[in-house]
Symmetry: C2
Subunit: 359 residues, 2 copies
């Protein structure tokens, strides 16, 4: 058990920004909101998955929508309202909360609800990264019911998705409501047991986000290479490095979708990487050849600072380095890939695991 105080938020924001693979919501705004919540209601206790009491009822909360809108439309206490709505619907009170996805501002959205409710959070999440669609959670892949869920906006509107025939239908109805609510909302899912958390969540991801952020900040202080600091904390590799030369980004269907082109510099001179994204980076090609796909992590960071560049902040001229990290093991099983692999996103290609050299 450790305390998430105001002091860890900067590190978490950097680490979660990297793990967000472009999405998950703007980490800086998330950090400001979490800081405000902690100043008002105090710090949040963080439990390791193995510390979750046997009789715990753990509610997953998080944001849904387009990150391009999330930087303009602040979320207030939506995640707390969604929590209370699902508690009322199920008649069960949460004893702990868990993040939907560690990536981006969703790493701290859970802290805002937890601070307000006075509940601990679990050091784990449903992705170990960020994914664009509601049903893309390891919880649901491994048998946790995806309904009922509550969705709330900042205005005072809330709905319950009571029952759907498939997880994709839950996403479809949730997305439609989110679009009406202004393209950003928060949700909460019916409680999980301690056993479900331990067997279906991606563990220790808040610690990983914090450690990644600390590594970057420490490199800034010591003058070390922040990219190597990142790769020393989380095994992965540099996929590409260069300058953003094209960006086609549209907010459509409740997502930020588009394509990003980077012209290589230094080792990558005279090559071009193109990345397709749907909130998150889905597939990266160099000169037409696939080099990395979901569920592996395709992460853009600034080349000089190692700081994450999320989808909504990406822009022409930025010097970025694209890092690749292997997906959490829960995503690379056949059932995991069914929900998160390139074919799920409409690409006619199999998942080829990213090769990372052993130290």
């Amino acid at each position: 058990m450790w305390q998430a105080t105001e002091d860890v938020l900067e590190a978490v924001a950097i680490g979660a920004g990297i793990l967000g693979t472009g999405g998950g919501g703007n980490p800086y705004i998330g950090r400001l909101r979490a800081r405000q919540a902690m100043r008002r209601w105090g710090p949040v206790s963080v439990m390791a998955p193995e510390e979750v009491p046997e009789d715990a009822r753990v509610i997953c909360v998080g944001g849904i929508g387009a990150p391009t809108v999330g930087i303009e439309k602040v979320r207030d206490l939506q995640s707390y309202h969604a929590l209370r709505a699902i508690e009322e619907f199920t008649g069960e009170e949460a004893t702990a909360l868990i993040s939907n996805e560690i990536g981006g501002s969703n790493s701290v959205e859970v802290m805002i609800a937890a601070a307000k409710a006075g509940l601990p959070i679990v050091d784990a999440d449903g992705m170990g990264r960020a994914f664009p669609e509601f049903q893309m959670k390891t919880f649901f892949v491994y048998g946790v019911p995806f309904c009922p869920m509550a969705i709330a906006d900042e205005k005072g509107n809330s709905i319950i998705i009571r029952e759907t025939i498939t997880p994709a239908w839950a996403e479809r109805l949730a997305r439609a409501a989110t679009i009406q609510m202004g393209c950003v909302a928060c949700y909460a899912v019916a409680p999980m047991s301690a056993e479900q958390v331990r067997t279906t969540a991606v563990p220790n991801t808040l610690t990983l986000a914090r450690d990644l952020g600390n590594a970057v900040m420490q490199a800034h202080d010591t003058g070390d290479d922040p990219l190597q600091a990142i790769l020393g904390t989380c095994p992965g590799r540099i996929l590409f490095s260069g300058k953003v030369v094209d960006l086609d980004r549209r907010t459509t269907g409740g997502f930020a979708r588009g394509t990003l082109a980077i012209d290589g510099l230094d080792d990558f001179a005279r090559q071009r990487m193109v990345i397709d994204f749907q909130n998150e980076n889905l597939i990266a090609r160099v000169d037409g050849e696939i080099v990395c796909t979901v569920p592996d992590l395709i992460c853009a960071v600034t080349t000089d600072g190692g700081e994450p560049v999320t989808t909504e902040l990406m822009r022409y001229g930025l010097r970025v380095t694209i890092l690749g990290f292997p997906a959490p093991a829960l995503w690379t099983t056949p059932q995991g890939l069914h929900e998160s692999g390139p074919r799920h996103f409409g690409y006619d290609t199999d998942y080829i695991p990213l090769q990372v050299a052993a130290d």
Copy 2:
């Protein structure tokens, strides 16, 4: 108290088709579905509003969507599923049901849920006609809460709209879910008291629909003029008569929207009526001059048979007569007109009550 048996369905379908002002769902398909339900589960008892027991819990059920889709996508037991969903959510069991709108198939949608659930229905509804949007109900105009409501589709998906800041937000979220569900769904609203039913519902409208239908059928048998039979049952007047010469109808935003042009015949020769509709007929102009607007009823019937022509069945070449009926009194108060008058639908004109000559 009377029994709605299979035998009354034909008359109800005709009368509700007329009162539907173009919308409310296809009456013929509604009739077939209600017949099937009655054959399976028996007839439905109909209570006058004054017969509703003091401790009654009355749940409003109905369909939502575009009638153009409703003739292709059958509803199954959606209204029953929505009923059970709202009962579960509120923890209250219905002791009677009430129709959302008497117009079109919604006059009998309530019978399907009632037959399956073994419940009586109230001889009343929330409109005394049909209107396109969820919040357009006399119940809500006069203080009945518009939330929570349940929406269910035929596939097994259901949501609860738990709380919204305005009735229009309930409509907005309900419409978005309905579009995802395939543009036709059914809903049920939290229970009303007997007092609420008696003070906010439009009374005796099922009886009116039945009597209108019987008048038309009797005129067919006796060779009398069916149009005069209609006007003899429900005071109103002939607004126009002619041939449909143009129809611009699109299914958009969860509604059937468009415009209908009729070239006059006989007394109306050399004149043209144009009607705008959003599921229901909203405003009728003759040679550019407004002759009738919502909330008054603008009803298209076949000129030779007096049978209703609903929005989804309207077509080029039909000989139709347009009848006008004054709106139920609950709609013509300032608060009623606020929800149902021409300005609500975007027309820059005040409501001018239809003048009907006294007998």
